[in-house]
Amino acid sequence: MEAVECFIDCIVNANLVIPVIILLGIAAICLIFFIIKRRYELLLGAQFIMSIIIIINLLSMNCYMHSWIWIYLGIILTGSIIIVLIKYLIDTYINNKNVGSISYLSDIENEFNVQINVIDSPIIRAFIFLKRIYISMGLIERLEKDEIKAVIAHEVYHLRYSPNKIISSLLALASFSFYRYSDEFSAEKYAANVTSKESLINALKKLDIKDSEKRIKNLSS
């Protein structure tokens, strides 16, 4: 009991009540989400709690180490600003180049119950952003419809099952784990299952993207 009192004394004296409450609050939210949703991104929440425990340990061992907590909050804040800024830049880029949806893709949209937007550029890209799938003209031009469908299915997997990239990056930053969660292989398996392995392999071959050979090998095994 003495240790707890000493600890409370210490954070009160060092003016750390508010930051400690903020950290514990965020940790609690992470924990609740982790319990309810059980998604991978929230596992990072648990790591987040770990890092808070470490900080609390630092504090209770030596109150003069309190500057660490400010440095930690500073790093999270700067990192978050950078992540949000990148998101904003991507957002404006997409809005500038987005031509909306094309009726050619409406069958695929209906089948997966998603909205597909087309990026007006000859580069080859497919990604998700704010619950929508974006696919570039360069990619559409090169593939047959069943191959496009396989690529969309891959993105549908990310949309439905992959952790949110921004939240993951924030949590990875906060927990200092810098862990990059990758479920490309699961997305590929999913696409092959709901469309066909042949279409997906053909798409990978035609697009000539990096790792395509490795990905084809994974699918065939």
Binding site: V99, I102, V118, P122, M137, I140, E141, K145
Partner: protein, 120 residues
């Protein structure tokens, strides 16, 4: 691509003003008016589709070609068309070159043109 500092007078035809690949693609566009990148790739067998697409993108960005999205029942693709005929592009380039010559030599450029006209 028709930048004054890139013009190479010793080269053949319009490669004086365009890179060899740009020139080949522009010739095709002038000839056929409307083409897809796949159509162009078929004519220029030695180039990769990525190279054709990249060159077309440059031509679009520098204002020599136009592209719009064409949607048919079983295919969506870009349709590329030239902006201006070979003649109007020729005029545009000539104007640019002459402007720079007049800038340097003033009225002697016009005298030179007069001489050429007499010869022709």
């Amino acid at each position: 691509m028709v930048k004054i500092e890139r013009i190479s007078l010793y080269k053949e035809g319009i490669t004086k003003f365009f890179s060899p690949n740009e020139a080949r693609i522009m010739q095709l566009l002038w000839k056929n008016k409307k083409m897809t990148s796949n159509g162009i790739k078929k004519e220029l067998d030695d180039l990769s589709l990525a190279c054709v697409a990249g060159t077309l993108d440059r031509l679009v960005k520098s204002g020599y070609a136009n592209r719009k999205i064409d949607e048919t029942k079983n295919r969506v693709s870009y349709i590329y068309s030239p902006i201006g005929s070979r003649k109007t592009v020729g005029e545009k380039i000539s104007e640019k070159v002459l402007e720079s010559l007049v800038d340097t030599f003033g009225s002697s450029v016009l005298d030179a043109i007069g001489k050429i006209k007499k010869k022709g």
